[in-house]
Amino acid sequence: MASGGIGGYIKHHLENNKLELVEGSTFWTVHVDSVIYTLITAVVFLGFFGYIAKNAKSGVPSKSQNFVEMIIKFVNEQVNDLFHYKSKVVAPLALSIFVWVFLMNFMDLVPVDLLPAAGMAVGIDYMRVVPSTDLNITFGMSFAVILLVMYYNFTKKGPVGYAKEYFGHPFEAKGPVGKILVLLPNTLLNTVETIAKPVSLGLRLFGNLYAGELIFMLIAVFTLGYGLEQLLSFGGIIMIIAQFLLGLMWALFHILIITLQAFIFMMLSVVYLAQSHDTGH
């Protein structure tokens, strides 16, 4: 445990395990812990779902196949509600986001000190186990989604159609003078929207999970720095009970948050992709 009291403890927990690819460069740095835990969760997701897909049968499904089918059916219904175009990408993308983000968020329910302490024992000083509390990870996904949105904007609407939508909406005007007049506000609004989409998508997930993790840490510092003698005193026992109850309550509530955030990320991605397919303007 790092010294420096409560502040030091939290600060240590919020420090990523960094690998500098280029000496002294902030950009050419990799958060090794985030990358490893996203890969682990990805392997869990792809492994389990891939195993089920490999053994999928149209007869009576096994319990695990039934569980996977339940998730797929749920995602499929949500996608069909929002996305009315033919696409081989959107529904699988929604499924990957939902399950993968859920698994990343789920790392938040692993006791906050368990994996970092295990890491410390084998000589890894810094470790953050919840990938979705890393802005790089959430932005990585939201930017990838927006890249796809851009791609579909260009391929489905065509560069001209997309330009017309970009410069001619939401304010519409007839005649060349009017069109020039609305050009500036339209461009401004659409630029803000285009930037706001990926940023809000990534920040929402990051903010919720970061706050959730921080609260787990605050609950963890209840008994921080107490010796065995102090813990066994009356006040110490009260603290342990309070810590246990608060941790339990927050964990139960957090189950809801992590599912909801995974769901919101999925739904918004589908909505943005549906907008990019929408040639109605």
Binding site: L14, H31, I72, L135, N136
Partner: protein, 156 residues
């Protein structure tokens, strides 16, 4: 907390994960689900068809049973008629036979009685002739008196 190369890595990993899901997971499981849906729908349709066929078969069976009943009724009726006819015929035959036998018996009796009469007549004529012979003590030429005797016999 700063944006760095991790973001690029995550973008690539994300797109790879989506690609794998797209190629290997989603279509396979959804395909199995749709196939099962189709199987269930087919099964339900087949059971509906079987239901209809069963009803049809039941109606047919009922019809056949009714026809058989009708036929049996007709057969019974004709059999009864035939029996009555045979009975009547037998009765008529028996009566005819009785009449015939009766008539034959009567004829025989008559014949017997006629023969007896004839015998009697002959015997009477013999007796009368003998009596007369005795009475006359004289031979009677039967040939001469034959006509007379025959007249006598006829009178008896």
């Amino acid at each position: 907390m700063s944006i760095n190369f991790t973001l690029i890595i995550q973008m690539v990993v994300f797109l790879v994960v989506v690609l794998i899901t797209m190629k290997k997971i989603w279509p396979v499981i959804l395909g199995a689900m749709e196939e099962r849906e189709k199987q269930i729908a087919d099964g339900l349709a087949a059971s509906d068809e079987a239901d209809i066929a069963l009803k049809k078969a039941q109606t047919e069976a009922e019809q056949i049973v009714n026809e058989a009943k009708d036929q049996a009724g007709t057969v019974r009726e004709s059999a009864t008629k035939m029996a009555t006819k045979i009975k009547d015929q037998a009765k008529a035959d028996a009566i005819a036979e009785k009449d015939r036998q009766l008539a034959a018996a009567v004829a025989e009796i008559e014949q017997e009685s006629n023969r007896a009469k004839e015998d009697l007549r002959k015997q009477v004529s013999g007796i009368a002739l003998a009596g007369a012979e005795k009475l006359l003590n004289k031979e009677v030429d039967s040939k001469v008196h034959a006509d007379l005797l025959n007249d006598l016999v006829k009178e008896i």
